[in-house]
């Protein structure tokens, strides 16, 4: 590990950070740290929605971020995506609707590290070079042969080695331990469209503070830099494929800055009154989060259907009894009994569906 990794500073109280007046805060439920305007203190945590933001010191890099992606979706634009997100759930909790989600949407910026560094050392790998061979398929029909010529692409593997001395700029590295979960929920960001940091575009937003400081993120950074170096060696060799790549390199002159990425955080409360976070991509509008169905509503509907079934069954049996004296009622009684059985079986659906749906969501 390089010895010159930058240290983080501790911010104890509200102060001007990165051109904004921000208060360090944290969520006692999920223990994630944020920087937010003072007015956000006491509001639900944008990450887990189960705790409320409380003032607390935050450990972070003091320099302003280098790049950021701004929001291209306004809250008003999110309604269609949220309605589509909600509509797929049949028996949903009362609070799980587009209006509630939209009302609680909070703009959030989450960080990634941008690492610059010099790489120097040697490399060796087996490089695959594509070449084409001519093959053929012969068909015999009616006493005649016909030939179809085929051109196949194959790879010829050859050893290559050499030295590498390059500088890499803005290699993106996770700064949050839940970065994979975040991008898994709402998708990747077009990092190539990042612009220089602008404090004006941050107003009103909550900032996630990195929970992977440079010393913790270094293995990930090293992996990303190694991958880039191996790609460059492949490019230099003019190869189309690479395998058994080995690098013996050192990284120097490392510079760590931040890239901020936009999302909206909102939540709804489920049957048990527990908040369920929902995240919305700030560029694409893709919505992600657990969509829980309401088991309570399921039981209610199932109970209603079961009650109707019982009533129909009773009526059917009574009519069948009378039918012994007045045969035309026997047929009606039988019909009601059949309907009652249908309703009884139908009552199983709302009872079981929420459970099955929620299992899938978990």
């Amino acid at each position: 590990m390089p010895t010159n990794l930058p240290n983080s500073h501790v911010i104890e109280e509200a102060q001007t950070v990165w051109g904004l007046d921000l208060q360090p805060a944290g969520c006692p439920a999920c223990r994630r740290a944020f920087l937010a305007e003072a007015g956000r203190i006491g509001q639900p945590c944008p990450a887990c929605a189960r705790g409320h933001l409380e003032p607390q010191p935050a450990r972070m890099r003091p320099e302003p971020p280098e790049l950021m992606l701004t929001f291209t979706r306004r809250p008003a634009d999110l309604r269609p995506a949220l309605e589509a997100f909600v509509k797929e759930v049949w028996l949903r909790p009362d609070d799980f609707n587009a209006d509630s989600l939209l009302k609680r949407a909070v703009p959030v910026f989450w960080p990634m590290w941008l690492v610059d560094g010099d790489v120097a050392g040697s490399w060796q790998a087996e490089m695959g070079f594509d070449y084409q061979v001519k093959s053929s398929q012969e068909a015999y029909r009616g006493g005649q042969w016909t030939t179809t010529e085929l051109v196949e692409t194959r790879a010829r593997w050859e050893p290559r080695c050499g030295e590498v001395r390059r500088r890499y700029h803005n290699v993106s590295v996770p700064a949050l331990s839940d970065e994979q979960a975040l991008t898994g929920l709402i998708g990747a960001y077009p990092l190539g469209e990042a612009q220089p940091y602008d404090a004006g575009a941050m107003r009103g937003a909550v900032l996630r503070v990195p929970d992977l400081p440079p010393d913790s993120a270094w293995p990930l950074a090293r992996e990303a830099l190694d991958r880039l170096t191996a790609q460059d060696c492949q490019t230099a060799a003019g190869a189309q494929h690479v395998r058994q790549s080995r690098l013996n390199v050192t990284y120097d002159s490392l510079n760590w800055t931040q890239l901020l990425l936009p999302l909206y955080a909102t939540y709804y409360t489920d049957d048990s009154g527990q908040a369920q976070p929902v995240l919305i991509h700030g560029r694409t509008g893709r919505v992600g989060g657990r969509r829980l169905a309401s088991q309570r509503k399921g039981w209610q509907l199932a109970g209603l259907l079961a009650g109707i079934a019982l009533a129909l069954l009773a009526a059917g049996l009574v009519l069948a009894g009378i039918g012994a004296l007045f045969p035309p009622l026997l047929a009606l009684g039988g019909f009601l009994v059949v309907i009652a059985f249908g309703a009884g079986i139908g009552a199983l659906a709302p009872a079981l569906w929420p459970w099955q749906w929620n299992q899938r969501q978990r």
């Binding site: 050392g121 040697s122 490399w123 070449y131 084409q132 061979v133 001519k134 093959s135 053929s136 398929q137 012969e138 068909a139 015999y140 029909r141 009616g142 042969w145 030939t147 051109v151 194959r154 050859e158 050893p159 290559r160 080695c161 050499g162 030295e163 590498v164 001395r165 390059r166 460059d232 060696c233 490019t235 230099a236 060799a237 003019g238």
Partner: protein
């Protein structure tokens, strides 16, 4: 490209190659040197006389002072490297032979023979013409990478040829008595060998015989007859073809070359010009794509036969199949053949001896009067029996017996006569 830093050195045998990216150097294994810087001199280091590859010594030898030196080449056998049918290989010309070559060109038959520097000959081994000129060989052909060295000594060749010429009663008697073939030329002839793995899928209507009973209204009885029930069937047969040889020369009769085979490819040796010292070699004039087409035709027929063999019945109709070729590979080889041409009664005949196994194949003149006499002798008994039987039959006697015997003798004699004629014609044909 840049030189490596003092802290890192490339592995032995690696050389710098062009890098497509600044800041990254690339080293690759040095390619094998294909051609020596200067043409080898086949000259005795002791006395300065010309040397030649000596079969008995298994090396380059000087006939003048007895100096011998083994040839530095490895026997690789059938493990000899093969090449794929890359577009590049099919399109490119050659890298030369590794020797600055002269070529002997026959103005009569058009044959080209590679000659070691300084070697000259006045007679074309393929057509016995003396209209030959020496010219620079074109350097646009693939280079042979393997060959089978001559194993049959030149001294043994004439005796074998004489023995072969004396065989067969329907050739002129002078053939065995005269010394028609004075000079055999040891020539390395070009051959391609091909490998392929074929997946053959066939589809056909296959008929199976069944016995069924039926009522014959004519005889008013139940009888049994054989009927064929047809059904569609499919199958898949893997066929592997290994080292299928195809001649790389059109100057020599393909039929004679086929009769010379097989060569034992287990004796394949890395090509080195020393094997050509004092010998001749012919470059290919059947290019790779053309030879491959011919080889492929043989392979697909083998695949077709394998599919037919896969069908469990002799009754097949609407047969169709596809043959998917995979892992196709080729080699370019030089194989040792002694070649001679001789004139007999104004006609030129070709004789070849396998320089590895000693098998002989060639054309021999036919004394056609002997053949016609034999044909007559074969047909006469049948005709005579027929001539005797016919009047007896007309006279109402027992003529049917000699007539039948005559017909049988005529059929047998006719068959034997045709076989004899075909053999005689084939013996003369190129």
């Amino acid at each position: 490209m840049s030189s490596p830093s003092p802290f890192w050195q490339p592995p032995a045998g690696f050389i710098p190659v062009e890098s497509a990216l600044a800041g990254v150097t690339v080293f690759a294994p040095a390619p094998a040197v294909e051609a020596p810087a200067a043409p080898p001199v086949f000259q005795c280091p002791q006395c300065g006389a010309a040397t030649r590859y000596d079969v008995a010594a298994g090396g380059v030898a000087c006939e003048h002072c007895g100096y011998t030196a083994p040839v530095q080449a490895q026997t690789v056998g059938q493990a000899a490297a093969q090449d794929e049918f890359t577009l590049e290989a099919l399109q490119r010309g050659a890298q030369g032979w590794g020797v600055a070559r002269k070529e002997l060109h026959c103005n009569a038959c058009g044959a080209d023979l590679a000659l070691a520097p300084g070697a000259l000959t006045a007679t074309c081994p393929f057509c016995a013409s003396n209209q030959v000129t020496v010219r620079d060989a074109a350097d646009d052909r693939l280079r042979p990478r393997f060959l089978i060295p001559f194993q049959l000594q030149p001294d043994a060749v004439k005796a074998r040829a004489r023995e072969w010429l004396g065989k067969g009663w329907y050739h002129p008697d002078e053939l065995s008595r005269s010394a028609l073939i004075e000079h055999f030329t040891g020539v390395y002839l070009p051959f391609w060998t091909f490998d392929a793995r074929i997946t053959a899928d066939w589809r056909a209507e296959v008929g199976y015989e069944h016995q069924e009973r039926y009522y014959d209204a004519g005889s008013k009885s139940w009888r049994t007859r054989t009927v064929i029930r047809w059904r569609w069937e499919t199958g898949r047969v893997p066929v592997t073809v290994d080292d299928l040889p195809q001649p790389g020369t059109s100057r020599v009769s393909a039929r004679l070359l086929e009769r010379l085979q097989p060569f034992d490819l287990g004796a394949l040796t890395d090509y080195t010009p020393d094997f050509l010292a004092g010998w001749q070699a012919q470059g290919y004039d059947v290019p790779l794509p053309q030879a491959w087409e011919a080889g492929k035709a043989v392979m697909r027929e083998r695949a077709r036969q394998a599919c037919r063999d896969d069908i469990a019945s002799a009754h097949v109709r609407n047969f169709s199949m596809t043959a998917d070729f995979a892992d196709e590979a080729w080699r370019y080889l030089l194989l040792p053949v002694y070649v001679a041409a001789y004139r007999f009664e104004g006609k030129v005949y070709q004789v070849m001896i396998n320089g590895q196994t000693g098998a002989v194949a060639g054309q021999k003149p036919v004394a056609w009067w002997k053949v016609w006499l034999a044909v007559a002798a074969l047909l006469v008994p049948g005709l005579c029996a027929g001539l005797i039987g016919l009047p007896l039959l007309l006279a109402g006697g027992v003529g049917i017996v000699p007539l039948v015997i005559g017909a049988v003798l005529l059929a047998v004699g006719g068959g034997a006569a045709i076989w004899l004629y075909q053999r005689a014609a084939a013996s003369e044909a190129a």
